[in-house]
Every structure is written in C-alpha cells, then in structure tokens.
C-alpha cells in the first residue's frame, strides 16, 4: 500500500492506494497525522482494492487516537468493495462518510474550527 498525503485548509488528506491488510496496516497506524490527536484527517479510500479486518481495525484505532473519536477521522470515496467490509463489521457507524473528498474536507474543517 502507498499513502499519499496532501493538505487542504489545514486538513490532512491521506489517499490510500492498494491493499490495506495486516501487512500494510502498521503503515497507516504509524502515520504522523494519524497519531496526532489534534489533527483532523480525511482518508480517501477510492483506490483501496482490498481491505480486511486488520485494515478496518487500523482505521478504527486511528479514530480512537483522536480527541474527538467521531469526527477526527473522516472517510471519503469508499468503493463498493471497501463499503461492503465496513458494512459487515458495522464500522460504518463510527464514521462520517463522504462520496467526495472536497465535501469531506469542508466538513472536517468545519468540525475542526467548531472544536477549536
């Protein structure tokens, strides 16, 4: 998996490419923006071609790192494969999920400024 990190109006956007499984999950877990409890992160899942329970676990734990678990991680552009695994584990309940990165960033920034 590769993670491309960009930033827009103070929000980190992590775009994941490839496979998010037990092997690649630590990479996401150890990402600086993920670890920072103050930082709101948008994770773009469009290019994730495979995710399993370890991948879900990594995203859920990323959320727990945040000061506001329900808003600290915002998910964007889930494809059908990813969405199905979220659905099975019920993890979709924990996140705000957008079908567009720009909308996700707008939401994240409004959240961040509201809590600041």
């Amino acid at each position: 998996m590769t993670i491309t990190e960009t930033s827009k109006i103070g929000i980190a956007i992590l775009s994941l490419y490839g496979t998010l499984d037990a092997l690649s999950a630590p990479e996401l877990r150890n990402n600086r923006s993920i670890i920072d409890p103050e930082k709101t992160v948008v994770i773009d899942l469009q290019q994730v071609d495979f995710i399993d329970s370890s991948g879900i676990g990594a995203i859920v734990s990323a959320s727990r790192q945040k000061r506001q678990p329900s808003g600290g991680i915002v998910l964007a552009c889930m494809n059908d494969r990813v969405r199905k695994v979220f659905e099975i584990t019920n993890a979709q309940k924990l996140f705000h999920i957008f079908d567009d990165t720009t909308a996700a960033v707008d939401f994240a920034s409004s959240r961040q400024s509201a809590s600041a």
């Binding site: 552009c77 969405r83 979220f86 659905e87 099975i88 019920n90 979709q92 309940k93 996140f95 705000h96 999920i97 957008f98 079908d99 567009d100 720009t102 909308a103 707008d106 939401f107």
Partner: protein, 464 residues
C-alpha cells in the same frame, strides 16, 4: 434527476421489535417490500439513479435490490449518521448528486402516489423546497425547475407515516384495495383485486373473498376461508377450516386448523393486534408457527435415533430380504436403476438407486408390503445421508412446483411423513403433511411415524 431515500434506525425501531425476521425496509406492504414502492415512485418521478442512505445496516436490502438493474436504474447505498440533516446528507453524497435536481425522500413513511399521473413533468416544474410532509417524513427537492408549471398539471401525492403496527396495517390494507390501479404490483390473473403468486394450491372447498393477495407456494386446505382483505405472503400454509380475514400473514407462516384470524398480523409464530399493538408468541405449534428448517432435523440426537432404528429394521428384515431379494432379482421382478437425488443440502445431489418391484406374485407382494424395496436406503440412514423419515427424496433436476428451492424445509428420508398419514397420498396434500411434520416433529414422534408409515404401506400393498 436523482433520488435519495434516507432512513434512520430510530424511525423503524418498532419493526425490529414486532417483526424481527425482516429488515424494516423490506417489510412487505401488500405483496411487495416497502422499499420497492419508493423505488417505483422515484422512477415515475424521472430518476435515473437512486441512493439509499441509512444509519443502520443495509446488507439485506442490498442483497435484495442489488444494483438496481432490475428496475433499469443505478442503485447505490451509503451510510449516514443519526443526526445528519438533509443538508449534511447532500454534502456526504455530493458526487452522487452532481449538478442535477435531487429529490430527497426522508423518513420511514409510505408515499401514496398514483402511477397514472405524470410525476416526471411535475417534478421538473416544481420549485425547490418541501413537496410533501407528514409527521416523521418528507419529500424535498433541490435545484431549479427546468419547466414552467402548466395550468393543468396536477399530481396526487401524500405521505403517510409508518410509525406503528397500526399505520403499517392501514397502509397494507389500503394498498390491497387500491393497489393495482395506483401502484405497480406483481401478481397474476385477470380477476381484479385478486393477486396470486406462483404455485398456489387451493383445495376444492376453499372460499376466497376479494380483495385478496396471495404469494408464492401457498397452500390453502379444505374449507379455509380467505378474505375479504387478506394479504398472504409466500410459503404459507392455511390449514383446514381456518379463516383469514382483514389480516396480513407473513412469509413462512403456518396457520393451524380451525383458527379464525380476523384483523390480525401473523408473522411466524407471532400474532399481533394492529389496533392495540399487542403481540404474542405462540408456543403451541397447533396454532401458529414459523415454517423453517426445524433445528432438530439436523441435530445429532435425531440422526442417532434414526440410525439406531434403521439398524433395528435392517436386522429384523434381514432374513426376509436375503430370501426374497435374490428370488425377485432372478425372476426379473426387482428392477433397480441408478438416479441422482437432491441431498439434504439442496445444492448438492446424491446418487441413490431407484427400485421398482413388479408386484405380481406372492414374493413380490410380501417384499413390497414389508417395504423391502427401501431396504438398501436404510444403510444411508446409518451413514447419515438420509433421514429415516422425512420428505420424499426429490430427483435432481426434476422441476416440481414444490421443489425445495421454494420450500424452506426439505429432508430426504427413506420413508416420507406423507406415508404416515392415510389421507395424503400425493401432490399438494403430501407436501403439506411433510412440511407440517418437518416443522414440528422430534426424534421420538419420528419413531411412531415410521411405524405408521410401515403399517400404511403394509395395508396398502397387502390389499392389492
């Protein structure tokens, strides 16, 4: 145009409580799941794509509706939070909405529409904002109208909250009465107010009073009275002398003999009163029960009981068998041909010989009376492939209206439950007996039924 259908778990929590077997969005309204009415409406209103949003699970809904190709539209699914406003929902689905006009139907409510109106023109001429509301539900439009409103354009539409069993019952009954003309309903037959599914077996003395809607694989037994205003799901048995009036019977429900179901909703073994909201789970299989694979059927104790009894029969009939079998075989009276039958897991098949004994002559008559034609099959009970008593094994590939794909209970046996009852030799009656016992029997009653089957076969054959 695009449509968003948005729901919150809190709006349909009552469905989970009263009808735990069905996903609330798939709750049957007349003879179609609730969500299909909304999809139909979205299509009538000119949508090319529909997205279903929910803060709860949508897995079952997705398995049922798939990608919408059945309706010729794009159907997609997404998740929202319980406190998301319409604005927030639009934000989360910005890409889906694009630049187009969007109709948002939110809330667990039923849309009373009429397919004869031109909703498409109506929607494209409506100003943005709320179109229709009811407590807990509303239809909202975004974007600008693309047409001017002509003077003559009218469209009948209202929303009705589905917030309780009472309102659900009302909506179902209303749909049954006005259904065909207003909505897109499945069903066969030219008779108005009378929708029938496939493979409905109706005994001669059954009385049907319109309006009724009956699903697939339904069996109505002697002197049953159905309707007026009866909505009966699929895989339902209404036993003898029972009547169902102004009531809804869910899929896979067995209604016992001599019952009177008036103004009720029966779902499996649960009987509900839509007026008071009272709900009772019948523990008594003679009243109502859910038709499904009886858990005892596959249980180990049952298999052991069956295997032991089979061994006893094998031992007891060994001598007559070893004498008669070579005799008949040599005389050409014993014909055995290989065949493939559906196994207990109906997606599998098993090889099983078909034995026919030409019952001319004393030896053959004795052999048949003693059920020796089934002797080899007894060994399959010991190996666990067949039950000692269960359903009549179905030939693989044979298309029978009561094939197990339609029937939730199938357990191939050496003997069939139908053979244990004198009155039910073949056809629909046999199926009903089998289904009844498959739902209610246990290892002990099985032994009694095997003996009955033996005696019946014996009497039948020895009188020929």
């Amino acid at each position: 145009m695009k449509t968003i259908l948005a729901f919150r778990e809190s709006e349909y929590a009552w469905v989970h409580e009263k009808f735990p077997c069905v996903h609330p969005l798939l709750l049957p309204l007349c003879n179609k799941p609730f969500i299909e009415f909304l999809i139909d409406f979205a299509i009538l209103a000119g949508s090319s794509a529909v997205r279903i949003l929910c803060d709860g699970g949508l897995g079952e809904v997705e398995r049922y509706c798939e990608d919408g190709s059945r309706w010729g539209i794009d159907l997609s699914y997404a998740s929202i939070h319980p406190d998301d406003s319409i604005h927030a929902m639009l934000g989360k689905n910005r890409k889906f909405c694009g630049e187009e006009r969007v109709m948002i139907v939110s809330g667990f409510s039923f849309i009373r529409y009429d397919k004869r109106y031109d909703y498409k023109s109506f929607v494209s001429s409506m100003p943005p904002g709320e179109w229709s509301t009811c407590p807990g539900g509303r239809i909202t439009l975004t974007g600008v109208p693309t047409k001017a409103v002509p003077d003559w354009l009218i469209a009948d539409l209202s929303l009705m909250p589905l917030d309780s069993m009472t309102s659900y019952y009302q909506a179902s009954m209303e749909t049954l009465k006005t259904g065909e003309s207003r909505y897109v309903l499945p069903g066969y037959g030219d008779e108005p107010e009378c929708a029938f599914g496939r493979n409905v077996v109706i005994s001669k003395s059954v009385e049907i009073r319109k309006p009724v809607s009956i699903g697939n694989n339904v069996q109505l037994l002697g002197n049953a009275i159905i309707g007026p205003s009866a909505i009966i799901g699929s895989n339902v048995i209404i036993d003898r002398e029972s009547s169902v009036e102004s009531s809804i019977v869910f899929d896979n429900t067995y209604i016992g003999e001599h019952l009177e179901i008036i103004g009720r909703i029966a779902s499996g073994n649960r009987l509900n009163d839509p007026k008071s909201g009272a709900s009772i789970a019948m523990e008594d299989p003679h009243l109502l029960s859910g038709i499904k694979k009886n858990r005892h059927l596959r249980s180990l104790p049952r298999k052991i009981v069956h295997a032991c009894v089979a061994l006893v029969i094998i031992a007891a009939f060994f001598i007559p068998f070893i004498i008669l079998w070579p005799l008949l075989k040599l005389g050409g009276h014993w014909k055995s041909s290989p065949a493939s039958f559906l196994a207990e897991r109906t997606d599998e098949t098993m090889p099983l010989a078909k034995v026919e004994v030409d019952a001319s002559g004393a030896a053959a008559a004795i052999a048949v009376a003693l059920s020796l034609d089934r002797y080899f099959r007894l060994f399959r009970v010991v190996t666990g492939q067949l039950a000692l008593i269960g359903s009549t094994p179905l030939l693989a590939g044979e298309s029978r209206p009561d094939a197990p794909a339609y029937v939730p209970a199938y357990l191939p046996g050496v003997f069939s439950y139908a053979e244990a009852e004198e009155w039910a030799a073949t056809g629909g009656d046999a199926t009903i007996v089998e289904r009844f016992h498959l739902a209610h029997s246990n290892p002990l009653t099985d032994i009694g039924l095997v003996i009955k089957a033996f005696i019946n076969r014996f009497q039948e054959k020895s009188t020929i």
